[in-house]
């Protein structure tokens, strides 16, 4: 994320703004729906509908990344984001597979809800930071 913030491209600025906005909407949505479900204990179709709402925010965030990849003119910047996404997907799926295996043998309790969402975006931000550090440029020659 920091790497993109430092970038001067219009596409990167729009990406950060959109991602930030949808991230806040996601947090607010999860908070509101969680509170509603705790208070009203909905069941059946209503519960399923409420559970689906935060998923739309996740789809929107992925769409924002897709729009960035479409609009970014600098192919090396696009390459950095794609690498970050692959690391984030790989790490998140590997972690989930590891946890699910342990859970299936009752060795550990269920992880906190929405953990995979946080792990994915944190991994993506971390990898982008590492790439930004590795690809930093010194004084021009």
């Amino acid at each position: 994320m920091q790497a993109i913030c430092r970038s001067q491209t219009k596409a990167a600025r729009r990406y950060v703004q959109r991602l930030g906005a949808i991230g806040l909407i996601y947090l607010a949505t999860v908070w509101v729906i969680t509170r509603y479900v705790h208070q009203h204990r909905p069941t059946g179709a209503k519960l399923f509908t409420l559970a689906a709402v935060p998923a739309f925010d996740v789809v929107a965030m992925i769409a924002v990344v897709g729009i960035y990849l479409r609009d970014e003119a600098d192919e090396f910047k696009r390459h950095e984001v794609v690498v970050s996404i692959l690391w984030a997907i790989g790490f998140t799926l590997a972690l989930m597979a590891f946890i699910d295996f342990l859970r299936s043998y009752h060795s550990i309790a269920a992880p906190p809800p929405f953990m995979e969402f946080i792990v994915f975006w944190l991994t993506m931000a971390l990898v982008q930071g590492i790439q930004s550090f590795r690809n930093r440029v010194r004084a021009d020659e």
Binding site: D74, E75, K77, H79, N135, V137
Partner: protein, 64 residues
């Protein structure tokens, strides 16, 4: 893929920032190509060749 981007740029007295501006990419992109950490796409390689007014094979060489 090897390339002579750094040498050619130095011959012309261009900075990375200047070349990046001409190519409409970031300085990180130019630096990554020069250091061999990133191989440009064919369209970008053609843009580079056009800016240096050289055939593409005089800038980029196959590893083989």
């Amino acid at each position: 893929m090897n390339n002579r981007l750094k040498d050619l740029r130095a011959l012309r007295g261009w900075s990375q920032a200047y070349l990046a501006e001409q190519l409409e990419v970031s300085r990180q992109s130019v630096n990554a190509i020069e250091t061999g950490r990133y191989d440009p796409s064919l369209p970008l390689a053609f843009r580079i060749a056009r800016i240096f007014a050289l055939p593409i094979e005089q800038i980029f060489e196959d590893d083989v």
